[in-house]
């Protein structure tokens, strides 16, 4: 879908140069293009969800240089020269499923699934930063992610299982 015409007129064009899910991207974008729209509409990466558009629910979380950010509150200019990872770029070290994805499926941490990409992104950001995160750390990290289906119990325990799996896996240890 084309970018909004009004924006092209009112705002400067950004010569965007960044990495998205490991791929180098160069293109011209209106500098005020909402990051969430850029991801969903321009790149077609629809795994990142819009739950509220106001930074309240966490469904639109993406990793920016490894940190989880609400893409609905940012513009493309925020990713200039940086490394962006969306749910589509979350993989295990050997290219298969990420341990978070595996345990979310296995332990029933997914129901309607709309909050799932955001929660997996938030959990990945936490475990990268703090591989030995405690249950309290996980709870605190995920307060920004609303889930209306699960009651959070299975989500929290799935993140704990994934943490333990990653701690026991030399592939993940090396990477840290």
């Amino acid at each position: 879908m084309p970018c909004n015409e009004t924006m092209k007129k009112d705002f400067s064009v950004l010569h965007l140069d960044c990495t998205v899910n490991g791929k180098h991207i160069q293109r011209d974008v209106p500098s005020n293009r909402a990051l969430l729209d850029f991801i969903r509409l321009d790149l077609g990466l629809t795994g990142t969800k819009e739950g509220c558009g106001e930074g309240e629910c966490g469904a639109c979380l993406v990793l920016l240089n490894g940190r989880a950010v609400n893409s609905c509150l940012m513009t493309v200019s925020h990713i200039q020269g940086k490394e962006l990872v969306t749910i589509e770029g979350i993989r295990g070290r050997k290219g298969g499923l990420h341990p978070l994805q595996e345990t979310f499926m296995k332990e029933g941490a997914i129901q309607c699934g709309f909050c799932t990409p955001g929660i997996i992104i938030a959990s990945e950001a936490l475990l990268r930063r703090k591989p030995d995160a405690t249950l309290e750390d996980i709870k605190l990290e995920l307060t920004g992610n609303l889930c209306r289906c699960t009651g959070y119990e299975k989500v929290l325990s799935a993140v704990e299982t994934a943490r333990d799996k990653m701690a026991a896996d030399p592939d993940y240890k090396e990477a840290e």
């Binding site: 969800k49 309607c112 699934g113 992610n145 009651g151």
Partner: protein, 770 residues
């Protein structure tokens, strides 16, 4: 043939849709794109109740990408949304009845352009009198603002009359009464409402919609476009949560998209922002109830009077069925010989309320279970003992005179949570550490599964089971996956009936053109109705396949004739054939490998004039015990733990059932403590997740869940329904625990800190005055 042990039902299979959701590949309505697609956005009524004088798109036209304005004049069919009554126009002609109501739509080339243009459409209007309080609406001198019955401003009223209530109260040893209120609840499904309408060359319309009731969408779109049902196809997209919020209203959203698409002749996508989803989509009705109970000197309940009012909002939608459910369950799961219940669904000039998990029961359950504790206290009985003395057991009669079958484990549920929670020790402990007071509270509930007497004509469902040449199985159903796990549970039921391995069975999301109208996926009826329809479809296939398997095993040297079918394998005398081999042989023999199923719920005999008879086909049950910590200095309540026990018949998938229970408990707890939608002068003031607070990971209590499976023979593998019971009893359990912790009765939900704090202050002041 040997009796078959269950191979698939009762096991915790992973979700069928887990992988696509974990990888972010699941396609929700907003994720779908079609060639030449345009975007719609709604123009909303800015004031509570208005007379529309004119609508102008002069300024909107200047937005680049603007295509057209759509008003009621563009509706080719009937301008009345067919729900129960016809009072809700698809787009208002003269009068808009609540702030946020869709008055017109704008179509544009991009979503942002559509939103921008919609914000520039000007409505010229005159303000009309409005009513905010449902009790005001029922007064004789109230202005007439709505209503669909012979009573002014009333959408529905019901009554239950049994025995002689006046006499019961005259002769009672103990009497209690109380007035209780509950506020709105917003579903807060993470995926907002949305629909895509695609015009077809034959004048038909294909709809891709997030919905738990695809056939309601068919009703709405066919009516709005004035076309026959065979030209409307509704494809359910992956649905990001429902909770009742995607029961009736998706039909309205889809009809709006369809009206736009019919006008422009191109696909049109309409996706709601969170704010507009708050402002105009359905909510849990605020409730008001005055209840009285009487008991004899041994503590047996003898009478109950109820007046129950739901604040229905500006249009009737499905208030009548919500109120019906509330009415039937209003006196609680107790044997009470004398009953007088009167209930009303009142019109107000606010957002129309509709279906929400629990469906008119949580409001009244909060009221009556709070009051039951007050009665027990007055008699001097332990709340658990009092309940055990009065609870309904198999063979006993409900308020409507329905005799309960053996599938009723209520007393066992109470005993289970009593034991697990350590109730007997804790209830008189009143532990206090500094200014933190701990307390414990109980509640019970029963829930009529399915649509019941008020929806009996919709209580049927279809399915199609298709075994392909390679032995893979397709299951089409009319009941929807919305997160609860229907795709997986339906596959388990098909697997069990066919003896087909789970990995070979695929359940399709609903396509209305494949399976006949199966009613809504609500009222905890998905497993019961869809499951039974699948069994109906699979039974003849099973007979055929089992006969083929038997032949094959004998051909391979089996002699005993005793075949065991289990886990996707057929076995005789140690010789086996796989389901795939049997299916392929079935195709070789040119057998019919596809069947349809149709299940009709048993008749219910309820009579509307006196409220007596069987109201629902069967009931599910719950008992909840909540343990809380109340900060007596701030009034803040923290729910530490919930022990919950459920009788929902056979558990088809324990992992999914536990997850659904935990989610229901938290949604109930969140409503009890935090969620507080506010109107000021007819305008919703907090339509967002910052000001409307939902429970997060930090608020989550510890859960302890027990299932006691009282099998229901009419159910698929003896299952009942479980979607709603986990939510219903949470609020009264928490309120009763607060009372136990610090001696104050909070009579309205949410149980906000300021209410608790003020009540504690008043109690202390009263103590000092003495």
């Amino acid at each position: 043939m040997e009796e078959q042990k269950l191979s698939f039902v009762g096991k915790s299979f992973e979700r069928k849709d887990g992988l696509i959701k974990a990888e972010g590949r699941a396609m929700y309505a907003a994720d779908r794109e079609f060639a030449r697609m345009l975007y719609a956005a709604a123009v909303r009524n800015p004031r509570p109740r208005i007379k529309i004088l004119g609508i102008s798109d002069e300024k909107a036209k200047k937005v680049p990408g603007y295509v057209t304005l759509v008003t009621y004049k563009d509706i080719k069919g009937q301008n009345a949304w067919p729900v129960l009554d016809l009072d809700y126009p698809f787009l208002p002609e003269k009068i808009a009845r609540f702030a946020g109501e869709t008055v017109a739509l704008v179509v544009a080339e991009t979503q942002r352009a559509a939103k921008k243009a919609a914000s520039l459409v000007e409505i010229e209007y005159e303000e009309l009198p409005n009513i905010q309080d449902p009790l005001e609406a029922l007064k004789p001198d109230a202005p007439e603002i709505g209503g669909t019955t012979d009573m002014k401003n009333v959408y529905a009223h019901f009554t239950i009359q049994k025995g002689d209530v006046d006499k019961a109260f005259e002769e009672a040893a103990y009497k209690v009464e109380g007035t209780f209120k509950t506020n709105y609840q917003v579903h807060g499904y993470l995926e907002t409402q949305g629909s895509i309408a695609i015009p077809e060359t034959d004048g038909g319309m294909t709809i891709h919609s997030t919905t738990q009731c695809p056939y309601y969408v068919v009703d709405g779109v066919a009516a709005a476009l004035g076309i026959t049902y065979n030209k409307v196809k509704v494809i359910q997209t992956v649905t990001g949560g429902g909770f009742g919020g995607k029961e009736e209203v998706p039909a309205l959203v889809a009809a709006h998209a369809a009206i736009c698409a019919a006008k422009v002749g191109r696909p049109v996508k309409l996706i709601y922002s969170r704010k507009e989803d708050f402002q105009c989509m359905s909510k849990r009705h605020p409730g008001w109830a005055h209840i009285e109970y009487s008991a004899d000197k041994e503590g047996h309940l003898t009478g109950c009077r109820v007046k129950y009012v739901l604040d229905a909002g500006a249009y009737s939608t499905i208030t009548a069925i919500v109120l019906f459910r509330g009415t039937v369950h209003s006196t609680g799961p107790y044997k009470i010989p004398n009953i007088d219940v009167k209930t009303f669904g009142a019109a107000t000039s606010k957002v129309p309320c509709g279906a929400f998990r629990g469906f008119g029961q949580p409001q009244i359950n909060f009221a009556q279970e709070s009051l039951i504790d007050e009665l027990a206290a007055k008699i001097g009985m332990d709340p658990v003992e009092f309940r055990l003395k009065n609870l309904l057991n198999p063979g006993e009669m409900t308020a409507t005179g329905q005799k309960l079958t053996s599938s009723c484990g209520l007393s066992e549920l109470v005993e289970a949570v009593r034991k697990k929670s350590g109730w007997d020790k804790k209830v008189n402990l009143h532990e206090k550490k500094g200014h933190i007071a701990k307390g414990i509270g109980i509640s019970t509930c029963y829930y009529g599964v399915g649509l019941g007497a008020k929806g009996r004509f919709l209580d049927r469902a279809g399915a199609m089971v298709n075994i392909y040449k390679d032995g893979s199985v397709g299951v089409s159903v009319g009941n929807a996956e919305m997160g609860q796990g229907a795709l997986t549970v339906f596959a388990q039921i098909a697997s069990e009936t066919l003896n087909a391995p789970m990995e070979l069975v695929k359940t399709e999301e609903v396509d209305s053109s494949k399976v006949p109208d199966s009613g809504p996926t609500v009222a905890s009826r998905g497993t019961l109705m869809g499951g039974n329809a699948i069994i109906e479809a699979a039974k003849p296939l099973r007979e055929r396949l089992f006969k083929v398997a038997l032949d094959m095993l004998i051909d391979k040297g089996g002699t005993s004739g005793k075949m065991i079918a289990h886990d996707g394998v057929f076995e005789m005398d140690g010789i086996t054939v796989s389901f795939t081999d049997v299916a392929k042989e079935g195709w070789n023999r040119r057998l019919k490998m596809c069947e349809e199923g149709w299940y009709v719920a048993p008749h219910v005999s309820f009579r509307l004039d006196n409220g007596q008879g069987d109201a629902y086909v069967v009931y599910s049950y719950s008992a909840d015990i909540a343990e809380v910590s109340v900060d007596t200095q701030t009034g803040v309540t923290k729910v530490d733990k919930i022990w919950a026990a459920y009788d929902v018949g056979r558990i088809v998938n324990p992992m999914l059932a536990t997850g659904q229970a935990q989610g229901g408990i938290l949604q109930g707890m969140s409503w009890s403590l935090f969620e507080n939608l506010q109107y000021k002068n007819g305008i919703m003031v907090n339509p967002n997740f910052t000001d409307y607070v939902c429970a997060t990971t930090k608020d989550k209590p510890e859960y302890d869940i027990t299932f006691i499976e009282k099998l229901y023979d009419e159910g698929p593998y003896q299952a009942k329904g479980m979607g709603e019971v986990p939510l219903i009893g949470v609020a009264p359990a928490v309120a009763n625990a607060i009372k136990n912790a610090c001696g104050v009765r909070i009579d309205s939900v949410p149980l906000l800190p300021e209410k608790v704090w003020r009540a504690i202050k008043q109690k202390n002041a009263a103590k000092e005055a003495k």
